[in-house]
């Protein structure tokens, strides 16, 4: 029992260590990647003893800056809720990772350790629920700031989040129908099958439209370009106008963690999670041809790294999208959400159902 607790804590440490570090690196990657995309060099001036290592000290410098800045609470606002909101943003983004499986079951010293923090049987509902809870951080931040513009910004953001949550939830239904489970572990394992014997039966194969819809809606949930109306760094006043210091940093970090969470969920739902095509528990396995046995630990390690790399790829891809597309106008955003995404998600469910029924 004690060992179980230790193992779970270890898993939490590993997963959150990964997520938080990647979030910090993302703040660097965002600068560097945009620079490389735009034929620039990017932030590279922060140095320690003359070493710059490609600007990797910038996240540290940012953190020091934000920690030492004045933490200002609007005198007329609600101090408790004002403080609560950014941590709610961080928490909801972070906790999603609890249900994402990052590897196959590890058999070690006679124990079966599932590489997932909590194998909830309502995994997908958990993700949607906590994704939805992020909405509160936005509303509370805007409301507790006692600032008209923050409040308007938070209402705008809330409208956006609610609109896209619908499309998000509906697009997941397709995946649930395809694999017949709402438990993430089952879904990932389901993606280890093959269509026609050679094509891995990943979510992207089963639900190509669903993937596009989910990914778009998830981008909207992260409040990043092209859906960054809630904050829109320079133009419209957003819901965290009255935040400074590390509380502002918490929103900022929350945004990056959301990016990683979305990447994790997309990986788990549509890109086979930790699955590597033609790599089974026994080793490299080409159906109907041959099998090369590999040690169990190596296989698990490969699968965990595959999951990590897939997540990193989607983080990269989301940054790529963020630095490619211009922002939606608010009316376009709403029209796109309600008149395009939701009907398409419904169509996707019907089509999936029909295919299920036929085959």
């Amino acid at each position: 029992m004690c060992l179980d607790v230790i193992i779970t804590l270890l898993k939490i440490a590993i997963v959150f260590g990964f997520v938080l570090n990647v979030a910090a690196i993302l703040s660097w990657a965002e600068r560097k990647q945009s620079a490389v995309m735009q034929d620039r060099i990017g932030a590279n001036r922060a140095d320690v003893l003359g070493f710059r290592i490609f600007g990797l000290f910038h996240p540290i410098a940012d953190t020091i800056k934000m920690l030492t800045k004045e933490d200002w609470v609007p005198p007329a606002g609600d101090a408790f809720i004002h403080t609560l909101a950014p941590f709610l943003a961080l928490f909801t983004a972070l906790v999603v990772f609890a249900v994402i499986p990052f590897g196959d079951t590890l058999h070690i010293a006679g124990r079966d350790i599932p590489l997932q923090i909590a194998d909830l049987n309502v995994g997908i509902l958990f993700i949607v629920a906590f994704g939805g809870l992020g909405f509160y951080s936005v509303v509370l931040a805007g409301w507790s700031s006692e600032n008209k513009y923050s409040l308007l910004g938070s209402i705008r953001a809330a409208a956006q989040l609610i609109s896209y949550e619908l499309a998000l939830g509906l697009s997941i239904v397709g995946v649930v129908m395809a694999y017949g489970s709402i438990e993430l572990d089952d879904i990932v394992r389901g993606q280890g099958q093959y269509v026609l014997g050679v094509i891995p039966y990943w979510g992207i194969v089963a639900q190509p439209l669903g993937f596009i819809l989910f990914f778009t809606a998830a981008m909207a949930e992260t409040k990043r370009v092209p859906f960054d109306l809630p904050e829109s760094e320079s133009e419209i006043i957003g819901y965290f106008t009255e935040y400074s210091g590390m509380k502002f940093g918490a929103f900022w970090m929350g945004e990056f963690i959301e990016v990683i969470s979305v990447a994790g969920v997309v990986t788990a739902l549509y890109f086979g999670g930790w699955q590597i095509p033609f790599l089974s528990n026994q080793g490299i396995f080409i159906p109907g041809l041959f099998t090369i046995p590999l040690p169990h630990l190596l296989v698990v390690l490969l699968q965990v790294s595959a999951f990590g790399l897939k997540v990193l790829f989607f983080c990269w891809f989301m940054l790529l999208v963020r630095w490619t597309l211009p922002r939606f106008r608010y009316d376009q955003l709403m029209a796109f959400g309600w008149k395009f995404m939701v009907p398409l998600a419904l169509v996707n469910i019907v089509v999936t159902g029909l295919i299920k029924y036929v085959f």
Partner: protein, 191 residues
């Protein structure tokens, strides 16, 4: 609201293909630049730039010979400014950043000299008209320096004593006479 733009074609109205096109452009740049960044780290293809930017304090773009930088005043051989306080620069200055107080020079041949000559660089718009207006080979903007930041407005008020010590940037010198060196053999501008 007036929406400016053309109506989307059917293909465009799907967004998807247009987004894919955009992503292709940006990722192409990313991959190309990344390839050369890594190649540079390995010491390959140093002649192919991976970025168009110039790392300013370390690298500098060579200045044009017509570049207008900080002002300077040419000096007479004795080190005093050549300026005769005619105030033509003050007159022509569109932002009124030059202020001269003229005075009677003890030497009647020189007659007039600037008791104080101040350029308020916080106002200066670097148009170079003062340089063109100067009738006596005194005021030039060929130092090749940009103004240094200061902690007070006083720091950014360049005075006669300071301006006369500035030297022209070699190669960019526009004056007939270098400060304190008497007439030069040939006009550097080929006039």
């Amino acid at each position: 609201m007036k929406i400016v733009g053309h109506n989307l074609t059917t293909k465009e109205s799907f967004y998807f293909f247009e987004i894919a096109k955009g992503l292709w452009i940006t990722s192409r740049h990313f991959i190309y630049n990344m390839y050369f960044h890594i190649a540079h780290l390995l010491g390959k293809y140093p002649e192919v730039p991976a970025a168009v930017t110039v790392q300013y304090p370390e690298e500098k773009v060579p200045l044009s010979r017509r570049w207008r930088g900080r002002h300077r005043i040419n000096a007479r051989p004795d080190g005093s400014p050549r300026c005769v306080a005619c105030m033509l620069c003050e007159t022509v200055c569109p932002v009124q950043c030059i202020h001269i107080v003229a005075g009677e020079h003890p030497d009647p041949a020189i007659e007039k000299y600037p008791v104080s000559f101040e350029i308020d660089v916080t106002r200066c718009c670097w148009c170079g008209m003062c340089e063109e207006a100067c009738p006596v080979d005194a005021l030039y903007m060929d130092t090749g320096k940009s103004p240094e930041p200061g902690f007070s407005r006083e720091d950014l008020l360049y005075r006669k004593e300071q301006l006369v010590k500035e030297m022209p940037l070699p190669g960019c010198q526009r004056s007939l006479n270098a400060p304190g060196q008497g007439p030069m053999e040939a006009n550097p501008l080929g006039l």
